[in-house]
């Protein structure tokens, strides 16, 4: 028998409404409120414990409430963590997302929840976990609980799960290949789609591209002679001992190295670890990839105001866009803190 821990708010625990929203976190044995319906829908599993917390407590004192709940769970055995359903209740939805994310990160178990599409928790957390598409209010409780349980049953039995639209959760931005149940060839799908498009009939693209995927180009720097410029490269230039152990392909790590005391990168002190090109030229003169020599001349000439004292480096070959975006965000925090105005991003 697999074990499930369930999270609900003060309202669904029957403690009270808005006046009890600052209820402190507690853990009870067995199922409470919606947990009973969940128990019925689970096949070879049961709700062993229920965590209850007031929506205000979770919303305003998030860190402390989360830490308390994680402490409750520390000595418990459980296979899956389920929160809600939260319907259209905004604070409850955010609370479900917050605690699910924390439990996933701390204990590495699958986490599931359910919300209505207009719940702000959906946008905030849909890439982190399956959030099942729920109704606006508790009248859809039975169905929403059943959807979560059906998926949980598959996970617990080690069965394959289907794509988001079949299982009924919000897509997480994760795309994988699947074989169509009714095998229609790409050729026939393409011709059929074109005929529909030409007739003005509705059609469904297999790769939706939304305007939000576009990143606009930044406006130009008005006066370079006053600007602080940083050097960032995906060309794999690192100190020869590669102290941050950045991978030569499919990188997940980046490093930053001090350069304000040198006029150029010296061969023998720096090299490239990039596996996607012949390293001979870059090892002989690392400045061909990270042009510190030219940038220092520009500083002396007054062409640029100053150079940020570190350069940042990773490897671009085989590196996925998601990892690249994460590393970019992390590097950006440093650049922002040091009030860098512009970045020379050197790819290879």
């Amino acid at each position: 028998m697999k074990k499930v821990i369930h999270y609900i708010n003060q309202f669904f625990a029957g403690i009270g409404g808005e006046d009890k929203a600052d209820h402190q976190p507690e853990i009870r044995e067995g199922s409470v409120g919606p947990g009973m319906a969940l128990n019925e829908a689970l096949k070879d599993a049961k709700v062993t414990h229920t965590v209850v917390c007031g929506d205000n407590t979770m919303g305003t004192d998030t860190e402390k409430a989360t830490a308390t709940i994680l402490e409750f769970l520390k000595d418990k055995e459980f296979d899956i963590f389920i929160a809600g359903p939260a319907f259209q209740a905004g604070r409850y939805g955010v609370a479900c997302g917050t605690i699910c994310k924390a439990v996933k990160e701390e204990f590495g178990v699958p986490v599931l929840t359910s919300m209505h599409e207009e719940n702000p928790g959906v946008e905030m957390f849909k890439s982190e976990m399956p959030i099942f598409i729920g109704g606006p209010s508790a009248t859809s409780m039975r169905k929403n609980v059943a959807d979560i349980a059906a998926y949980a049953n598959k996970l617990l039995a080690g069965e394959d799960t289907g794509p988001a639209d079949e299982e009924g959760y919000f897509p997480r931005g994760i795309r994988h290949q699947v074989w169509l149940k009714e095998p229609v060839t790409a050729a026939d799908r393409g011709v059929d789609m074109l005929i529909k498009k030409l007739k003005g009939e509705p059609f469904e693209t297999e790769l939706p591209i939304s305007a939000r995927d576009m990143i606009p180009i930044a406006p130009p720097i008005k006066d370079l002679s006053k600007a602080k410029i940083a050097l960032v490269t995906s060309g794999g230039i690192v100190p020869v001992d590669n102290p941050d152990r950045i991978q030569s392909a499919s990188a997940t790590r980046w490093g930053r190295y001090r350069i304000d005391h040198m006029d150029r990168l010296k061969s023998g002190e720096f090299k490239t670890i990039h596996a996607g090109f012949d390293p001979a030229a870059a090892d002989a003169d690392p400045n061909v990839i990270l042009p510190l020599d030219v940038m220092q001349e520009f500083v002396k000439e007054g062409k640029i105001g100053s150079l940020h004292p570190y350069f940042y480096s990773t490897v671009g070959t085989g590196t996925t866009q998601r990892e690249a975006a994460r590393m970019g965000r992390e590097i950006y925090e440093h650049l922002k803190e040091d009030q860098v105005d512009g970045v020379l991003l050197v790819s290879t």
Binding site: R175, A186, A187, G190, V191, L194, K199, I209, D213
Partner: protein, 441 residues
């Protein structure tokens, strides 16, 4: 232009005394066949191995696939490659179906080479897992590229094309089981009923990104890197006017077998005169620099517009950098009022979370997805490897690796493998075979 293809369905291939075809069984005299292949002085060793669906055989590194055929007028199958130039697209062909001829390295693999499994879990990843394959396992004297990740593989590729003619001749005098006819009248000479239907072109972007000659797809023997788009009859493609190259990661590749049987051409033919008027093909290419990409997109859009196309299907032989050519072409067509559908694979990473194409545009609003190049695949050992299994790990095949911190090597000691879909031979079946799609999870 009328092309008639008579089909002979192969039930089995066996070795025997005489090259012959009877009752669905193709018999090959192995010694004679090997002697024919060894006529090329650059081929130092050759073996021929038969791989049938269901047999626990793994074939790697696979470089090329061709369908065995014969032209009844005695002309070569691949003008500009195996024979003199002639205009492709009309006449009668006899073709051996349910089988292909595969060019396999005896040792050395390269970036664009792939793997075929004939049984079990791995079989579904390629079209060739369900065909009877005559594998030409070859070593050559091309030592200059033996240790290069990029190989032209010229001797092996040419051997396969020549051997397709050698085998095809066996059915020249026989009566086919059934036949298909492909015919499109000139664009301005079609009936009123057909002209009333929406006009459609197919835009093909074969692989041509290597600046050095010898790696790219060839059109009538001409390297498509030195090329601007032109208008072609679909029959020219079906009749050997274009052959595959040796560069693109394997799952994104179009083999010569794909060109000879291009499913998207056949689907458009099926709808011709019913729901659309299939004008023909705008043959484009894939390029390296932005200006080259833009130039090709301009040519495609202009030709489509001048022909009066209402719609276009655009399809690319590749992923990554070529996505830029693909999206640019779709957008250029939409901008001149031609409604588009794209057919391509995606690269969303092993975790599926990465941007699917290198460039995106909201105007590309009707796309067919045929697979994810970076999907992880683990497969059990084979009873027999045709070629050399280590090539997958050692030789820089796009979906294999010598070692990895977390995953270990692609080829394990017990013969089981872990790889990316990238190295499945023509695995994303972008020519139109694919019954895979991409779904959100």
């Amino acid at each position: 232009m009328q092309l008639k293809i008579g089909n002979f369905y192969v039930k089995d291939i066996v070795f025997g005394e005489k090259l012959s075809f009877a009752d669905g069984v193709l018999t090959i005299n192995k010694e004679e066949a090997i002697a024919f292949i060894l006529e090329d002085e650059h081929i130092t060793e050759c073996d021929i191995v038969i791989a049938r669906p269901g047999e626990k055989k793994r074939i790697v590194p696979v470089k090329e696939a061709v369908e065995a055929r014969v032209r009844l007028d005695g002309e070569s199958l691949f003008p500009g490659v195996t024979g003199d130039l002639r205009m492709c697209g009309s006449g009668t062909i006899h073709a051996l179906k349910n089988m292909s001829i595969l060019g396999v390295g005896k040792h050395w693999g390269s970036f664009g080479d792939g793997l075929v499994d004939m049984w079990g879990e791995g079989q579904k990843y390629t079209l060739f897992g369900s065909l009877i394959n005559l594998c030409l396992v070859i070593d050559t004297d091309e030592e200059f590229e033996q240790r290069e990740q990029q190989k032209k593989n010229r001797a092996i590729r040419w051997a396969v094309h020549r051997f397709a003619e050698y085998v095809g001749k066996v059915v020249a005098e026989l009566e086919p089981e059934d036949s298909e006819t492909y015919e499109l009248p000139p664009v301005t000479k079609r009936s009123e009923e057909v002209n009333k239907l929406p006009s459609v072109v197919l835009v093909m972007q074969p692989q041509s990104q290597m600046e050095e000659m010898g790696y790219n797809d060839l059109l009538y023997g001409w390297d498509l890197n030195h090329f601007v788009p032109t208008f072609m009859h679909p029959n020219e493609v079906l009749d050997g006017g274009i052959i595959s190259g040796s560069f693109m990661p394997s799952s994104s590749k179009w083999s010569t077998y794909d060109f000879q049987n291009f499913p998207t051409i056949k689907s458009l033919y099926r709808e011709h005169g019913k729901s659309l008027n299939f004008l023909g093909i705008i043959m484009s290419n894939l390029n390296v620099s932005l200006e080259q990409k833009q130039r090709s997109a301009i040519f495609v859009a202009q030709i489509a517009k001048s022909l009066g196309a209402d719609g276009a299907i655009v399809t690319e032989e590749g992923y990554g950098n070529p996505d830029a050519d693909y999206i640019l072409c779709l957008v250029a067509l939409e901008d001149v009022g031609v409604k588009t559908v794209g057919i391509s694979n995606e690269c969303t990473g092993r975790d599926g979370a990465s941007q699917p194409l290198v460039t995106l545009d909201v105007k590309a609003n009707a796309l067919v997805s045929t697979g994810n190049v970076s999907e992880m695949i683990e497969l059990e050992p084979a009873d027999e490897v045709i070629g050399e299994l280590q090539a997958l790990a050692r030789d820089g095949l796009s979906g294999g690796w010598p070692d990895d911190d977390e995953l270990g090597p692609s080829v394990r000691e017990d013969g089981s493998i872990i790889m990316e879909n990238n190295a499945m031979f023509c695995g994303d079946m972008i020519a139109g075979w694919s019954t895979k799609t991409m779904k959100e999870f």
